[in-house]
């Protein structure tokens, strides 16, 4: 086992909304992220795809200041996440995957709490909370405790909490998991408008089809390494993103074997 070696890559470009260099993280014996460098252009709708356990969540956690990297840097709009965390976090809205929420608050209280924690004005928070609840189709359940929400509603309320301070960069880890198609369409149109007005969105997903339709840029991650990155058209090179992904990641077992499955 070799230690991850930091990438001697050039300085991040000025247009990047997020620029990571040589990010690496090891948990015990397992290297979760093995030196990933990536530039996310400002104003892009950026998809990060990869198989389960590829290191997507770990990479995004390190890029957003939730998990300290062993090596490497992450810079958001020119602000280093790990040397100037408070400034960097002001620029970002984060939807982490697999973390709990303060679920003994009502949905409305939770979004308000996220806004107030960021030091926003009370009246600004109040008006935005109303609009966010309406946009997420949660107005009818605003007074219900989040612990009683369904999985999809919980995702939506967490997303609303990430949007409240109008960040310049949105980092969403698996935002559409368990979200119903109508809500997903609503969220996508919110995100599309956000990108059209100059915001940057990074989503991680393993639904290739969704990423191909929604994103303009994509990065393929597997085994803690970056396999490909660029515009969606560059990466897929004529094929569908899904086929290209399988080709890049490998590990597709051919349909030999399991004959007994056809014998009933």
């Amino acid at each position: 086992m070799s230690a991850p070696i930091p990438d001697p890559a050039p300085q991040p470009g000025p247009v990047a909304a997020l620029s990571i260099r040589g990010l690496a993280k090891r948990f015990g014996e397992k290297i979760a992220v093995d030196g990933i460098s990536l530039d996310v252009p400002a104003g892009s709708f950026f998809g990060i795809v990869g198989p389960n356990g590829a290191g997507k969540t770990t990479t995004l956690s390190m890029a957003t200041g939730l998990l300290r990297p062993d090596f490497g840097t992450a810079v958001v709009h020119g602000v280093d996440v790990w040397t100037r965390p408070l400034e960097a976090k002001k620029l970002m809205g984060i939807l982490p995957d697999g973390v709990r929420l303060f679920d003994r608050l009502t949905g409305e209280q939770l979004i308000t709490y996220a806004g107030l924690l960021r030091g926003m004005q009370k009246d600004v928070v109040a008006s935005r909370v109303g609009e966010l609840l309406a946009a997420m189709d949660l107005s009818q359940d605003a007074g219900t405790l989040v612990v009683d929400y369904s999985a999809g509603m919980t995702k939506k309320i967490a997303l609303a909490s990430a949007l409240i301070h109008a960040p310049r960069l949105l980092v969403l880890d698996e935002p559409f998991e368990a979200v119903d198609p109508v809500s997903a369409a609503n969220i996508r149109s919110i995100l599309d408008r956000y990108v059209a007005s100059g915001g940057t969105v990074i989503v991680s997903s393993h639904v290739m089809d969704l990423v191909q339709r929604m994103c303009d840029h994509v990065a393929v991650v597997a085994g803690g390494r970056l396999l490909a990155a660029g515009t969606v058209d560059e990466v897929r090179g004529g094929a569908s993103l899904e086929d290209r992904f399988v080709q890049l990641v490998g590990g597709r077992s051919h349909t030999e074997g399991l004959e007994w499955l056809r014998t009933f």
Binding site: A88, E108, T112, A114, R118, D148
Partner: protein, 523 residues
């Protein structure tokens, strides 16, 4: 298949221990505690061998009945049953019902409560080792009794599974269970008095119980020893029939549970009520304070300790009434100050990964610390003041009030400051969000003990000045020491509070992500 289920249970247990050596330490501590109780009971049962048969019969039947009753009641109110072999998890495997029942029942014996019950029950064989037949009857009775315990627990948990899955029931039952637990002392004393006042009644009571499923299995040996083979046969019939009926009920309930998984429905509720978040100042520290206070009332893991506080004077007062000496009431204010202040020393551990919101929003550590400490102070301060003043009013010893207040406020402020530092740096094993406060928390029990005891030791050192002043006043009787204590407790306490909040905040700013990674281990 039965062997498979047992092996699964053992593997689960072993893997949970393998996660960290500290888990083993925690299990060892729980084991030692159980071992103490088991040893006491086993020795008592062995000693009963030489006792009068009537006395032995009464003790064994009453104890056995209490055990069966306990297995029936505790799983529901504590909602802390071991769900590693939850039948719902076997829905997709076509396991024949009979084998599943046998496997789950025997699996229920693996674990500390099951083994303890089995061991103690087997000791009754020694009690009745006064002949071959009574010993054999005791062995049969013990087997039947233990099986009845396990199956009854399964019936009760399966029947209430859908009820227990509702959050509201869990919350309420967890808090309600706290009350008898805290009042255990007075209850035991009361029952003890009742028993000693009516010793003649107990054998009759045991005789009646021995005809019910609760006591029947435990009474077999005594009856055989007394040569009453007819009643013994009838009681054997009662216990076997009861066990069969319970098993049949369990089978029916399980069949139903496997096809209707519990669902927790809840009504819709519109917003518009921000509660404390709308009332307190709209700054980060105010928001944290409002959130913490909301949790103190809504999360049973917090409100459980709130329920304890009003019961403290009841417990201490009862003790005073029994001995006629109310001096122990003097610890009321300092003790509640300590309990409340120290309760936030595990705050971030209680948040679990929800703490990610604080890291993600980049809220300043000082605001986080201050909000949590003020939330606790908001009700701890009035409680401590009321208890201290109430104590003086009750005893009429107003000259002791300043000293009492000095020590109590010193403990409260110092404790909050220290807890702010401790919870910014160390995580402890606590029940997960949504779990019962009584559930065995996952994770590092050894570290928990080290952090808790280490922290309390430091607190003890930090409040030494106040304690010394109080002792000086008690020894010299000079009330000037009391007034000095009030000043020292308030000023020194507040200084340490501010230092604690600032130091904790600084550590939190520096190590927020590491702290998040620590709590994420136990989710």
């Amino acid at each position: 298949m039965v062997a498979h289920l047992l092996r699964l249970k053992l593997t689960l247990l072993r893997n949970s221990l393998r996660r960290s050596p500290w888990q083993l330490v925690g299990m060892a501590f729980a084991g030692l505690y159980a071992l103490g109780i088991i040893a006491t009971l086993v020795v008592a049962l062995v000693l009963l061998r030489t006792a009068d048969p009537e006395l032995a019969q009464t003790a064994v039947v009453l104890g056995g009945s209490a055990a069966v009753l306990g297995w029936g009641i505790i799983p529901v109110v504590a909602s802390a049953t071991d769900m590693t072999l939850d039948p719902a998890r076997f829905t997709t495997f076509a396991i024949p019902m009979k084998q599943m029942l046998a496997g789950l029942a025997l699996g229920g014996l693996i674990g500390i409560p099951g083994l303890a019950t089995a061991l103690v029950a087997l000791s009754t064989v020694v009690t009745w080792f006064r002949g071959v037949l009574p010993a054999l009857a005791a062995l049969l009775g013990a087997a039947l009794g233990v099986l009845t315990c396990v199956v009854l627990a399964k019936v009760v948990t399966t029947a209430t599974a859908s009820l227990a899955a509702s959050r509201r029931f869990k919350d309420v039952s967890a808090i309600a269970f706290m009350v008898p637990l805290v009042l255990m002392g007075p209850i035991v004393a009361g029952v003890g008095q009742g028993i000693s006042a009516s010793t003649g009644f107990l054998p009759d009571f045991a005789r009646t119980l021995s005809w019910t499923p609760l006591g029947a299995p435990w009474s077999l040996a005594g009856d055989v020893h007394a040569g009453q083979f007819g009643p013994a046969a009838l009681k054997l019939l009662v216990s076997v029939a009861a066990l069969a009926a319970l098993a049949w009920c369990w089978k029916l309930l399980l069949e139903r549970a496997l096809v209707t998984p519990p669902s927790a429905g809840s009504g819709k509720r519109k917003g518009g009520k921000l509660g404390l978040l709308g009332l307190l100042p709209a700054v980060p520290a105010g928001a944290v304070m409002a959130r913490s206070l909301t949790y103190w009332f809504r999360d049973p893991r917090y409100s459980g300790s709130l329920v304890v506080i009003p019961l403290l004077p009841v417990v201490l007062g009862f003790q005073g009434a029994q001995t006629g000496d109310f001096s122990s009431l003097a610890v009321l204010a300092p003790l509640s100050a300590f309990i409340l202040a120290w309760s936030i020393s595990a705050d971030v551990s209680y948040d679990n990964t929800a703490f990610a919101l604080h890291v993600a929003t980049g809220v300043r550590g000082v605001a986080d610390r201050l909000g949590r400490a003020l939330a606790c102070l908001a009700f701890a301060l009035p409680v401590v003041l009321v208890f201290a003043v109430g104590h003086s009013a009750f005893t009429g010893g107003w000259s002791g009030l300043p000293g009492q207040l000095g020590l109590s406020l010193g403990i409260l402020f110092t404790g909050l400051g220290l807890a702010s530092v401790v919870s910014a740096r160390y995580t402890v094993a606590v029940p997960l969000p949504g779990d019962s406060p009584f559930k065995k928390p996952p994770g590092n029990v050894g570290q928990t003990l080290a952090v808790q005891f280490g922290g309390m030791l430091v607190l003890l050192v930090l409040v030494l000045p106040e304690a010394a002043l109080l002792i000086a006043q008690l020894v010299t009787g000079n009330s000037v020491f009391g007034w000095i204590n009030l000043a020292v407790g308030t000023v020194l306490g507040l200084v340490l509070f501010v230092v604690g909040v600032r130091l904790g905040g600084k550590w939190l700013d520096a190590r927020g992500p590491e702290l998040l990674a620590q709590v994420a281990v136990n989710r």
